[in-house]
Every structure is written in structure tokens, then in C-alpha cells.
């Protein structure tokens, strides 16, 4: 009997380990696959030139990725700038101040919002935001704009990732024990002091994870961005310029114009870049947190 239990234990244990390794391996295999398939273009051009050149003329063999990298950075940073403070404040409110009824309503609503397909956000952007930017915001600055801009894409992405960040941040904040709040309140701290000095401090690693998750999502988002960013292969000069982020580049062009030499390889390189940035970003965030933990 006992030996059977032991065998079962060992089997489940090794099965779970295999699955874990397999999913880690998958990421590695994907990265490697992308890298191999972009080898063609990497052999033709120095990598620095690919990353920094702004000339994108595939027909003439010029593959500068800078417009797309810049486009991605612009829309992602803007969306993070808009979404992160709002989400964190919202999560703090829901966790620390809202009544149980409000929380009970907010939970399912957040779930639902984070589950809305991105194409729906894209349509909302086209129908509501594009005209707003074109007819009101751009004229206010005295410029003409099609409405398909960094600003539009940034807002759409922000609206998309707010529920996601709030959702994760809220569960992080709720996991901070009430004992800790009581300890702070009982020496005469106000609620806000307790939140600021104790709860947030305790929750920093989890909140950072929520933010990283949200930003990664914005960086990789494809559909909603394609619909509203304008997709002009030039590095944006400001909020009212159009942008052409990396995911949009890949999705718009993959499978087409395969007659152009190196084009396929260039798109693979774009995908590799996308993956690499997300991975590096996640690792960097983890390392920074580790550092902070040690200081505390």
C-alpha cells in the first residue's frame, strides 16, 4: 500500500516537473526558431543598423526597424503613463476604502472588462477616439491629424490594460493581512498613513508584477493597435503623429509580399525583437525588485 502511494507521489511529481520544463522549453524553442529564421537578414546587415536605421524600403532591400521600435515605445509608454497611476489608485480605493457592496460589484465587472476581445476596443477607438482626436484635439493644437495617432493608440491600450492591472493589484492588496493594518491603526495611524506606509510597502513586489504584466500586454497588443495607430512606417515625432508598432507590422504584412527577398526574414526578426523585449523587461523588473527587497 505504502509503496503504491510512494510510486504515485513520485509519478505526479515527475509529471509536473516535466510539464514545467516543457513550458519553459517552449519559450526557448520559439525564440530559437525566430532567431534561426531571421538569420538570413542578420547575415546581410549588421544588427545595429537594423535597429537604428529609419529607412524602411523592403523593395529596395532597406530594412530599418527604428520606426517600428519607436512606434512601439511611444504607444506603450503613453499607455503605461495613463494606465498605471489610474489603475493603482483604483485598486487602492477598491481594496482599502470601498464598501463590501462596491467591491462585490467591481470584481465581476473587472473580470468582464479584462475578458473583452481587443478588437472590440479597436472598434471603440475607431468610432469614438479617432474622430475626437481628428476634430477636437488636433485642431486645438492648430494641426491637422487623421485621428489615427500615437495618442489614440495609447488611450485605447490604456483602457485595455487598466482592468488587467486593477484586477491583479487588487488581489495583491487583499492578500496583505488585516493584522498588519490593525498593527498600524492601533498606534494611531490614519487609514491613509496605514495604506501608504504599510500596505503599499508590503505589496510592492506584487504591484510591480501587476504593472509589468499590464505593460507587457500593451507592448504586445496587436489588433487594437492596428486599427487606430495609423500604421505609417516613420518614427513618431509626437503624440499626434501616426505610429506603426512592431506587432502591427508583423500582423499586417506576414504572408504577403513574399516575393520580396529578405522580407519574410525581416518580419521574423521583428517577432524576435518583440519577444526579446518582453522577456528582458520581465527579467529586469524581477532583478530590480530583488534589489529593493535586499535594501528593505
Amino acid at each position: 500500500m505504502a509503496s503504491l502511494r510512494k510510486i504515485k507521489e513520485r509519478l505526479t511529481c515527475s509529471a509536473m516537473m516535466m510539464l514545467t520544463i516543457a513550458s519553459g522549453l517552449l519559450l526557448f524553442v520559439i525564440s530559437l526558431g525566430l532567431l534561426l529564421r531571421s538569420r538570413e537578414i542578420l547575415e546581410m546587415k549588421p544588427i545595429m543598423e537594423l535597429l537604428t536605421s529609419s529607412v524602411w524600403k523592403p523593395g529596395r532591400g532597406e530594412f530599418g526597424f527604428w520606426p517600428f521600435i519607436a512606434g512601439s515605445l511611444w504607444v506603450t509608454l503613453l499607455s503605461a503613463l495613463l494606465a498605471v497611476p489610474v489603475s493603482l489608485l483604483c485598486a487602492v480605493y477598491l481594496s482599502e476604502y470601498a464598501s463590501r457592496t462596491v467591491r462585490a460589484i467591481a470584481g465581476p465587472v473587472l473580470d468582464m472588462l479584462s475578458g473583452i476581445p481587443s478588437v472590440v476596443f479597436g472598434i471603440w477607438g475607431v468610432l469614438a477616439l479617432v474622430p475626437l482626436v481628428k476634430d477636437y484635439i488636433a485642431p486645438m493644437t492648430g494641426r491637422f491629424s487623421s485621428g489615427y495617432t500615437v495618442l489614440t493608440a495609447g488611450i485605447v491600450l490604456a483602457v485595455m490594460i487598466v482592468p488587467l492591472i486593477v484586477h491583479v493589484a487588487l488581489s495583491v492588496l487583499r492578500s496583505v493581512g488585516n493584522d498588519l493594518r490593525d498593527a498600524s491603526l492601533s498606534v494611531g495611524a490614519t487609514r491613509w498613513q496605514t495604506v501608504k506606509l504599510v500596505v503599499l510597502r508590503k505589496a510592492v513586489p506584487g504591484l510591480a508584477a501587476a504593472v509589468v504584466l499590464g505593460i507587457s500586454r500593451a507592448f504586445g497588443e496587436t489588433m487594437a493597435v492596428i486599427m487606430v495607430a495609423g500604421n505609417v512606417a516613420k518614427a513618431p515625432k509626437g503624440l499626434l503623429s501616426p505610429a506603426y508598432p512592431l506587432p502591427a507590422l508583423i500582423a499586417n504584412n506576414y504572408g504577403e509580399m513574399l516575393s520580396i527577398p529578405l522580407y519574410d526574414s525581416a518580419l521574423m526578426f521583428a517577432a524576435f525583437l518583440l519577444l526579446a523585449v518582453v522577456i528582458i523587461f520581465n527579467i529586469a523588473a524581477r532583478l530590480i525588485l530583488k534589489k529593493m527587497e535586499n535594501i528593505r
Binding site: 464598501s99 463590501r100 493581512g177 488585516n178 493584522d179 498588519l180 493594518r181 490593525d182 498593527a183 498600524s184 491603526l185 492601533s186 498606534v187 494611531g188 495611524a189 490614519t190 498613513q193 506606509l197 504599510v198 510597502r201 508590503k202 528593505r296
Partner: protein
């Protein structure tokens, strides 16, 4: 009928007609009682009888629970702490709380003790250093931690953490110390250390302890409050109450018939 008169000392805390409801559940029923000044009062009773609830009404931590309703009066220094004009933070700093499990704040040992004073506006570095040192000495922790004051408090042992929490509570110069089964998570040696602190501190502070260990109540308490199903059954000087309880429920509880 009001056996609080039997104790000669002036009461520090006066409870009158206190009722607590959790979403309609009547957890404390019409409690009236006086807690003597500079004595150790033990609140005893079976699990779920309302001991923690009573303790939480004293520093209004009960306010943080949703759907709770409190009726009646709790008077400290002649002020009803449930008066809407009273400032909660001022009430709370009059009372140090020591919870069941030690609960160090996520910061250094030094910052834990300095937390309260800083909250209340103390900024002087030397002052803070003095406050931290004297309070850590007060709880017998100074020798053990003086050379690692800026290490995270979570690195201390559980028993040390509990004494640190006591020091944190004392640092805001409270009048009353509230303990909710404060030794139940500790090993015997650490429990003993905390108990010794209580005995020493009662010269300066009024101490109210919730405990489910009768022997601990006998060791520490000068005054005992017995609750049963949300009702105050009996209260009086410890020696008297333990030697000849007036109520049969108390007798049954003390002899272990009900628990």
C-alpha cells in the same frame, strides 16, 4: 449587583450598556463593567464568546469591520470614545495593541519602534534614537538587537517579534495595553518573557489581556472578566473570582465542564 464597586481602585475604563452587532448577529449583550487602573485585567471565556470583540471595542479597531454596529458607551478618562466628536487616532494611540500572532511591520527593527512616534510628528533623529532604545530596553530586547537595528524586523524570532510589537505599541506612550491571546503563538520560554513584561508594566499601565489559558489568567490577573455567549456573567478581583465564583456558569467554566 454591581460588583465593580468591590474594587477600591478608580476605574480606568468604564463600559456602560455596550452592545455589538455583526450584521445583525448580537455578539456582545449589554455589557457594563469597570476596568481598574494600573492592574492586569484578564478577559476569559470559551471560544466565540466575544472576548476579542470586547477588546476591539476598547480601541475602536472594531470600526474597521464592515457591517458592525456598536451601541452604548466606553469611557476613558471621562470621555466616551464613541462620541462622534472624538478623534479615533487619538483614542487608539492611548492603547497599545498586542495581537495573537506577532505582526512586525515590513520595515527595519528601528523603524518598527519609531513608526508610531513618526506618525505623530516626531522627526528629531536623536529623539527617535532615544525612544527606540528605551522602549526596546523596556521589553528586554535591546541587548539582543542593538547591533542589527536596521535589519528587517521579519528576521527576528517569533518571540522577539512579539516583544518588538510590544515595544512598538509602548513607543506612542499609551495608557492602556491590550493583548489578545498575545502569547498563544509563542514557545514557553518566549511566553514567559512576555508575561514577565506584563507584570513589570502594570506599575505604569492598565493592562487588559484576553486569554483562554486559565493558568495564565491565574498567574497574571488582578481582576477577571468572564464572558459567555456575548454576555458578561461575572467580574471581580481575581483571587475572589477564582476561589469562589458566584455564578454556576463561572464555576462550570473554571472546572472545565464547559469550554
Amino acid at each position: 449587583m454591581d460588583n465593580s464597586l468591590e474594587i477600591s481602585e478608580t476605574p480606568h475604563l468604564r463600559v456602560r450598556g455596550l452592545n455589538v452587532y455583526y450584521n445583525g448577529h448580537h455578539a456582545l449583550k449589554n455589557i457594563s463593567l469597570d476596568i481598574p487602573d494600573k492592574k492586569i485585567t484578564a478577559i476569559i471565556g470559551p471560544s466565540g464568546c466575544g472576548k476579542s470583540t470586547l477588546l476591539r471595542t476598547f480601541n475602536r479597531l472594531i470600526d474597521t469591520i464592515e457591517g458592525v454596529k456598536v451601541k452604548g458607551e466606553v469611557m476613558i478618562d471621562g470621555v466616551n470614545i464613541y462620541d462622534p466628536k472624538v478623534e479615533v487616532t487619538a483614542i487608539r494611540r492611548k492603547m497599545g495593541l498586542l495581537s495573537q500572532r506577532p505582526c512586525p511591520l515590513p520595515m527595519s527593527i528601528f523603524d518598527n519602534v519609531a513608526y508610531g512616534p513618526r506618525i505623530h510628528g516626531e522627526r528629531g533623529r536623536q529623539n527617535l534614537r532615544n525612544i527606540v532604545e528605551s522602549n526596546l530596553r523596556h521589553v528586554g530586547l535591546w541587548e539582543e538587537v542593538q547591533d542589527r537595528l536596521h535589519k528587517p524586523a521579519s528576521e527576528l524570532s517569533i518571540g522577539q517579534q512579539q516583544r518588538l510589537c510590544l515595544a512598538r505599541g509602548l513607543a506612542v506612550e499609551p495608557e492602556i495595553i491590550l493583548g489578545d491571546e498575545s502569547t498563544s503563538a509563542l514557545d514557553p520560554v518566549s511566553s514567559k518573557k512576555v508575561e514577565e513584561r506584563f507584570l513589570e508594566l502594570k506599575n505604569e499601565y492598565t493592562i487588559i489581556l484576553v486569554t483562554h489559558i486559565l493558568r495564565q489568567a491565574k498567574r497574571l490577573a488582578d481582576y477577571v472578566v468572564f464572558l459567555y455567549m456575548g454576555e458578561l456573567i461575572e467580574h471581580g478581583p481575581a483571587a475572589e473570582l477564582f476561589a469562589n465564583p458566584k455564578e454556576s456558569l463561572t464555576r462550570e467554566y473554571l472546572t472545565g465542564i464547559i469550554s
